[in-house]
Amino acid sequence: MNKLLCFILCVASLASASLLGIDALGEEQTLGGMVNAAGRGFAGGAKTGDAEGVSVVNPARVAFDTKVVFNLNFYIEMMTAENDESTYSTTTISLPSFNFSFPMGSYGAVGLSLWQHYASSMDEEVSDSASGMDAAVKYQGSVYEIIPAYAVRLPFFRMMSLGASAHFVMGNVERSLTLGPDNNKVSKSDSWATNSSDVTDYASGTWEIKNHPAYYTLSMQFRGRQSSYYFSYTTPYVLKNDLSYDFRFSQLDTLIPTRYTREIEIPALLATGVNYRLYKRHNVMMDVQWRAWDSDVENVAGGWDMSSVTKTQNDFMVSLGYQRDGSPLFYDSYLDRTAFRFGGWMKSWYVKDVYEYGGSIGAGLPMGKKGTMIDLALQGGKRTTGGHGDWEELFFGIRLGLMGVGSWGQSRGR
């Protein structure tokens, strides 16, 4: 277990790919980056089944699960940022979430998730061909959430369930900028003093919620014969980032850091979704999420020509998806037992003028007789910007999820 946790944290530390909002919160991993959701365009928060598992936006859904589910999600993203003049590409690996849910029959279901909600990552060395200077830039930030959840179907109205989850926030952020000297503006006789003298502008800090141990999500789910709906509300909260800013000349030669706390007001999130079963195992679904940002996000910044704030906009996401469920019968053909998904989404980021359009296809590949499944999703899209030097991003990602399903505590008679 320890090895597994170490591995998860190591991969998770590689974090996410987009450079947008990197000095603010970073990229948000929608719906915990779950592969089954990603395969159908991040739609399907209302989709119920035997083993759908935890949804970080709709905790009520898990009440309809009958099997124990454990899933682990990996994400590899190739991204290229480009404007009229330049192109910069990068590839990153991240582990957006892992989830565990345990149905307890009429006592409801409990779930536990680790969600890397926001992440920023960059570790590059730059060589400026004009000045010949070398620099190293490193960003590593993660806002993690540990989310215990509980959901229960109503006693006399079994088609309805209620769920609640608490999001305990933690994480850290680090920005390191190692720079060499540019002696162009000093006399030649003075340049000896700074030759080979690198300085590192270093900022680091930790995340927590201000004045509260956690923020909360409450949701309600209805499961009909053909249609399912959910509605969820996530409380607003204030993220607190205690930062220290420093200059480093060597490991032992540093300044006393100055400390500063930035506070980021995260607005309430409203989410709803519907799943409609067309015919037997064929489902279409649609989800909507909405957050109204009132204030800008303060950046790590603290100098140079960097902007001290990231302007925000209303954060809205609409997603449409389709899923053909796999047959639960082992003697059916492999293709019949495989779940197929596709979908698309449009999302306005919390960062002003940033819009993301994406599409995805996915599959749930059963492995063996016990219900273990590998989920796979391929996704691609574009993030357009209007105020960031016109840098746009094209991305292509592969998501891989391992889902373990068991029937612990379920008796055959039930």
Partner: protein, 507 residues
Amino acid sequence: MKKKFVLLSFLTIGTLALSACLFDSDEDGLSNWLSDQGLPDSYKVQTLSIEGLVPSKVEVNRDSTPLIMDSRVVLGNASNMSHEVAFEFLYKEKKDGFLKRFRSADTIGAYISLNLLTSFYNEKSIPVELLPIKEDLKLNVSWSLRSGKNEDFLDSLYSITDSAWVKMLQSWEPDVVVDTTYSIKIKESDVQAKKKKNGKTQEADSRILFEMPGAFLDSFKTCKKYCYLEMRFSAPETENLYRFYSMDSKRQATLNLRAKSEGDSLYDLLMYTPYRMANVVVSNDCSDCLVLHGGVKDSMVFEYSAEPILKALSDFYGDEFPYKMGDGYDVRQAVVLAQLTFARDDSDSKSYLGLPIWVVASSFIDSSGKERRVQEGYKPNRQEIAESGHPNMVFYDGDSLTLQVTQGLRDFINRASNGAKLKFMVNLSFPQLQDNDSTYRTHIIQKDTVKKMVVYGDTVEMKLSKGDTSYVYLGHYDYARYDFSSMMQKPATLKLWLATKRGGDDE
């Protein structure tokens, strides 16, 4: 299962092909992205000179604490400083009963043998003549002797720690003091190894034997089974400073006793090495004179008031100094290098070895809330060194002394709002051998060269042969005296090389 692997393989190949075609970077792609985000890819170096700095406080620390000397010891006078040698012997009567025979012998004697520090006297890099020395050395020999009969006495002596012994030396009162005179004659050949006819090398016999006065022999006779002998040599009148090996050497100092009775054909001999040796330094300079001595732990602490430096920074950046926002720790800029230049005048100072002496600066900086002293690094300006030598030497050409105080300045500006001041310490270090060699590291000389040095107005030549090792420092102190009085009367100039995080400096 096979199908799954085929599918995954296709996926991987497809991904790689996609990444190769679509996700490629321009050479300056990241650099341009950083620039658009306001992130630099280098720091712009700015320089600032602040003239007219006068220290608000100068404190001289003349350390008179005796120094335990394990490998070498000095005896004599130099630079208004008197260097005495203290010995500590622990004596235990052996089964052969030497002490008993010593007491009853017809003829007895004792001497202290000290070996001249041949590595110093043979040092080719020293341009002045160290030998010959010929004098009648007036030596003040003093001692106290305690004895005991049981092992508890000896155990109590072994339990005296170094620090306790050093403390004891400061207030030591001898039982007996005897003035003696020794005739000293040391020639160059006395310290040089000799080649024997068979081609082997015979080490130099550089011993100087100090015969103990009769009073000492009488004292020693009172020794019982165990003895504790505390002895000190001082030569207050000599103008020489003798350098000897101490204890941790095969040429260590020894106390030699001899006894001969009627009928004995040979002397009965006993040789003892000291348990500890120390140099006790007595300064005849005034305690508050702005004078530093070499070879001892003298130091001078300079403190500069914050105002002129902060004002200059404020004028330079157009910002408020000291920084008062939040907790007040200023990280808006970084001092990449700082050096302080003083006007130098060596005329009131004196060195003995004819070599320039390195002045070392150590700054007082904050370390987790406590003041800590750190020796400043030294970044060589190679071009300047080749033209006019290292700038941080005294007893050398030129009229300035430049000390790098980078860490001190960093800490001072960083903590200025908390009342920090620029505070650093200087002391005289080793003589410099690569005075104008910008290599600044030990290296092998590639061709025969003759190095010329001006020593007290005379040009002396130093022959350096191919294959010789060129060391940065001489491995021996110059017990010099440097007077900083005139230097302190003239204002110094501080030069800073800065990197700032303030934006908008692109033109």
